[in-house]
């Protein structure tokens, strides 16, 4: 590992740490200073006893000056302590952590499938630019890109109910909870099917369009002509020369599109009542459960920052021009 490599890593690390710091500040500001802040809500909340309120006030320093509140808040954020859910009366962490896990079960395969599909169909579309297959792929992608996630999910539910016997709600059927792991696994897969398809399709649109555009740029480059002049076959030109170069913008998009992915996840989870972080956020809004909302917001943003951070390394590994800079 060279010195410049090390400095790149260092630079990215510092930037990620700063971003996390900024997120904590933002989180603090949002939930303390805006109208409807949680302190007043805390005192008004009929769900809590006076004793609980006192304990929370003490723990979060709510009777202390603002800057001490911030120091306490900062520490708590880093320790993962977001207090007690108004609604569930449990530590926020114990609600959010399993939810994150459930979201990842949905998010990771959907994102991977969308990327892979997008990459290849986008490439094919660009190669056959202007032909029928291009307009088909492009049209589909555009429509999917423009489709609200919750609407697409709802439409799939309508279809599924028509076909019959496809789970459209939750992660497990109630009657499998005491069954063996294998049965539970198959049940999970069944429940995963529709949300997974929804999320994959929603993400697929954008990845395809980006891949197609970036490959169109690459295909007009001189080195593609050079490859052609060498006698390379079409498939060699596309997959060996153009594809890796076209991938670069896609990778950087993947890095910054976690925000998009999160949006997709939230709405998919809401429609299918998938008990992930999005669904938790939704119910927290509905129940005015601010500690949970705050914790969810913090964890979602941190996850995105970290995902970004790692995507940058993948990018620097793929592109030698960055590696050696």
């Amino acid at each position: 590992m060279s010195l410049s490599n090390l400095s790149y890593i260092l630079r990215r690390t510092v930037s990620a740490v700063l971003t996390i710091f900024a997120i904590i500040i933002l989180n603090f500001i949002l939930f303390r200073l805006l109208p409807g802040d949680p302190i007043t809500l805390l005192y008004r909340s009929p769900a809590l006893t006076q004793h609980q309120i006192n304990l929370l006030t003490e723990e979060f320093g709510l009777n202390q000056p603002l800057w001490i509140q911030f120091v306490i808040f900062f520490k708590n954020s880093l320790m993962g302590n977001f207090g007690i859910s108004f609604f569930y009366k449990q530590p926020v962490t114990s609600i959010i952590i399993p939810a994150i896990k459930n979201s990842l079960i949905l998010l990771i395969p959907a994102n991977l499938m969308a990327i892979l599909l997008g990459m290849f169909t986008g490439a094919i579309s660009a190669w056959h630019r202007g032909k029928k297959i291009d307009s088909t792929i492009l049209g589909t992608s555009l429509a999917l890109y423009a489709m609200p996630t919750f609407w697409l999910g709802s439409m799939l539910i309508v279809v599924a109910l028509h076909v019959g016997n496809i789970p459209v709600e939750g992660m497990y059927s109630i009657d499998v909870l005491n069954q063996s792991a294998i049965i539970r696994f198959w049940d999970l897969l069944g429940h995963l099917a529709l949300p997974l398809i929804t999320l994959t399709l929603v993400l697929y649109g954008e990845f395809t369009i980006v891949m197609r555009n970036s490959l169109l740029d690459v295909l007009s480059e001189d080195f593609i002509l050079t490859a052609k002049a060498k006698g390379a076959t079409d498939s060699r030109i596309l997959w060996r020369h153009a594809f890796p170069n076209g991938l670069l913008p896609l990778v950087s998009l993947i890095a910054i599109s976690f925000g998009l992915v999160i949006g997709g996840v939230i709405f998919t989870e809401i429609v299918f009542s998938w008990p992930g972080i999005g669904f938790v956020t939704y119910t927290a809004i509905f129940m005015r459960d601010y500690p949970v909302l705050q914790g969810a917001f913090f964890l979602i943003t941190i996850t995105v920052v970290l995902a970004n951070y790692f995507a940058d390394f993948v990018y620097s590994y793929i592109d030698p021009r960055i590696r050696y800079q």
Binding site: S15, L18, T19, A22, I23, L26, L30, F31, L34, P35, G36, D37, L138, L142, A143, Y145, A146, M147, P148, T149, F150, W151, L152, S154, M155, I157, V158, L161, V168, E169, R212, N213, L216, I256, F258, G259, L260, I262, G263, I266, F267, I270, V271, T281, Y282, I285, F286, L293, F297, I300, T301, V304, V305, N308
Partner: protein
């Protein structure tokens, strides 16, 4: 040729652009003449609840027995208003930040870009949901929230263009002819970033329409005003999807897709006409 005439002249040859304008103008027409087009008062009960689509109720009726066709027609207004105004806020902010940041560079640029990066990393939709939930999603709030959080993309794009344009010889020539910074920024650089800004603005409108619908759907937007998102919100919370009321949610979704695609096409037409090198679709 002046740019507007050039655009209009080229537009005739751009199928995408014509389709985009066609879609958008149709919806604008619907929004303006909603009272004439709608057979019923959208808020009045005009029949039994959950009626199937029929000649009487083209899109059926909802849980209250209100006419869904009329609701969808009136529901065109809010998305268009929020979409264009929020996009305007976002684009003007993004343009100014990008222009100043790119042109002056240095510490202000560094700070502005840190902020931009931050908002690009933090998932905007989550932030919007949280803020709307906290301060309440009235029409103005939603416009300000969407506009105020969507400018970083435009700022980034404009800044990177400014960075390259300001190195162009014609800028140096203007500088050496005693052109002031503001003169150069607005006379030389601005006209050259405008095509991209237009393309971005059209995309921003698409995004804002989309986001507004999402916020209303999730229940943090303004659920009292009629809009496509609002119709879908009630379709969802009344459990129509799983209870066989399939017709309730279809039209607003299709309208959102159409209008969004319209603005995407518009954006593409700006890009291809003003910068033929990027001709893509």
């Amino acid at each position: 040729m002046n740019p507007l005439m050039n655009y209009l002249g080229q537009l005739r040859k751009s199928k995408i652009g014509l389709v985009g304008w066609g879609i958008i103008l149709t919806f604008v027409f619907i929004a303006i003449f909603a009272p004439l087009i709608s057979p019923y008062n959208p808020n009045a009960i005009s029949g039994a609840y959950y009626q199937h689509p029929s000649m009487l109720h083209l899109f059926g009726t909802n849980q209250e027995g209100q006419d869904l066709f009329s609701q969808n027609m009136y529901g065109t207004r809010i998305p268009l208003i929020v979409g264009t105004t929020a996009a305007l806020v976002a684009v003007v902010l993004g343009l100014l930040v990008g222009l100043f940041s790119g042109y002056f560079g240095g510490v202000p640029d560094e700070i502005l870009m840190r902020i931009t990066d931050f908002f690009l990393v933090v998932p905007a939709i989550v932030l919007m949901i949280v803020i709307s939930a906290l301060i309440g999603g009235t029409l103005t709030n939603v416009i300000l929230i969407i506009g105020g959080l969507s400018w970083p993309m435009t700022a980034r794009v404009v800044r990177s263009m400014v960075l390259s344009i300001k190195e162009w010889p014609f800028v140096e020539v203007a500088k050496s002819s005693n052109g002031s910074s503001l003169y150069i920024m607005f006379k030389h650089i601005l006209p050259n970033v405008m095509p991209v800004v237009f393309a971005n603005a059209a995309l921003s409108v698409a995004n804002a329409i989309f986001t507004q619908a999402a916020l209303v759907f999730i229940g943090v937007g303004d659920v009292t005003d009629l809009s496509w998102g609002n119709i879908m919100h009630f379709a969802y919370i009344n459990g129509t999807i799983t209870t066989g009321i399939w017709w309730y949610m279809i039209p607003p979704g299709i309208f959102i897709v159409l209008l969004t695609v319209g603005f995407i096409f518009l954006s593409t037409s700006f890009e291809t006409i003003f910068n033929p090198r990027t001709r893509r679709i």
